[in-house]
Amino acid sequence: MGAFVFAAQMVNFPVGPGTSGHLVGGALLTVVLGPAAASLVLTAILVLQALIFQDGGVLALGANVFNMALAGVAAAYLANRLWAHASRSVAIFAAGALSVMTSACLALGQLLISGVPMTGGVLWASLGLFLISAIMEGAITVAAVRAIERLNPAWITPQPATSRAVAAVAMAALVLVVGGTLIASAAPDGIQRLTMQGVDSVGWRARTMAGLVGIAMIFALCYLGGKLKSRRRSA
């Protein structure tokens, strides 16, 4: 019964970001509702989008659910938990940016694996675009969470202090992020895997590395920001 309260309450919300400037909204959902509910809602949205709005396509549904509803939410959750003690805004910004970036890198990796050849230039260009949208998403997530907090602070799911369980989740997510581009693309989706053929194995390793470097850069940026903030606070 308590589970259903969840369903009824969260459902209405996700439509908003979709219409106002096509925000992915995964991080916002994660921060507000918690990771489990966020995954569920995003999966539902993706199913509806694929079937009714032809957004994303039916064939890519499995990969999309993995990239956005699972990996994206995991990245957002991890970032939010890890940096919550340093500074709330940095944590939320990192959650937004990382969730988009993780999904994007996974998607690029899967595309490479399934045989869409991309030259280095194209890859860098799309990574740049994703970086910009990641930063936008991070910023707007922070602003939206602030606005929600102003309206009623009780709505934001409280983030308990970092515990050992979180460390385990953090490790898992780290593995996911680091190995994600490679591992996830090895098993993106049953159907996609069937069509996989002719992977040129020389170039794509280097290119996925580019994606990893991008993620690492954001991580480092957020980490430094969090450190700076917390140091200033203790001083």
Binding site: Q9, F13, S20, V41, G115, V116, P117, V145, L194
Partner: protein
């Protein structure tokens, strides 16, 4: 709004509309698997798939052009990658990529265009898809339009208050307020449902028995798909 069109389509009364949702869902899955495993070189197979889909749409008495234009919404996305593939010299696979995404989109539209939402979610439920997920899907769909309208109203209101005010702060505030309102609405709806005796699931009408015509439809689809895949 085009999703309303799909709602109208799904309330038709053709023989395809009357088939069991489970049979249609299974047929869609078969089609998707067969389609995605087709070799890029087998161009005639794609033509045959298209003919199959057109025949089905005819059976359902859905407008072919409307169907195709809605399915084409998927193209901007996949065409980007198709173009990339084209530039790298693999024109055959590029063509196959675009065709596959278009055909799969059309097939999915055929399902949702001949089956009301409650039909295909009931089919999913009978296949043991988690009930939570189905509930969320149903709720998202039901309140999508309500919330979309609310967004529109809020945008107009913001415009009226000051046309110069735009961008970031406005968008963030909009999302925040929208969240607050959705939350309150959800709360109200939930309590109203409780008051009417809701116990955590919608009780659908007992599903119609899987008739022999449904089995016939499914096996025809299966045979057609497999024949195309094997022969062409």
């Amino acid at each position: 709004m085009h999703h309303l069109v799909i709602d109208r389509w799904s309330r038709g009364s053709s023989s395809l509309h009357q088939r069991d949702p489970r049979a249609k869902l299974a047929a869609l899955l078969v089609f998707l698997v067969v389609l995605s495993t087709t070799r890029p070189g087998a161009q005639w197979a794609f033509v045959a798939y298209a003919v199959l889909l057109i025949l089905t749409a005819n059976l359902a008495r859905l407008p072919i052009l409307g169907l195709a234009s809605r399915a084409a919404l998927v193209l901007p996305f996949s065409a980007t990658f198709a173009l990339l593939t084209w530039w790298s010299g693999d024109s055959l696979r590029a063509l196959a990529l675009a065709e596959k995404s278009f055909l799969s989109g059309t097939a999915a539209l055929l399902l949702v265009g001949t089956t009301p939402l409650t039909g295909w979610t009931a089919a999913l439920e009978s296949w043991r898809v988690p009930r939570m997920l189905i509930l969320v899907i149903q709720f998202v769909y039901r309140y999508l339009f309500v919330i979309a309208e609310q967004v529109q109203r809020m945008r107009w209101a913001a415009l009226c208050r000051g046309p110069k005010q735009r961008g970031f702060r406005l968008a963030a505030g909009l999302v925040g307020v929208l969240f607050a309102r959705s939350w309150q609405r959800a709360d109200g709806i939930y309590h109203a449902m409780l008051a009417r005796g809701f116990r955590g699931r919608f009780v659908p009408a007992p599903p119609a028995p899987f008739r022999s015509s449904d089995a016939l439809f499914l096996s025809t689809c299966l045979a057609g798909c497999l024949a195309i895949r094997m022969l062409l």
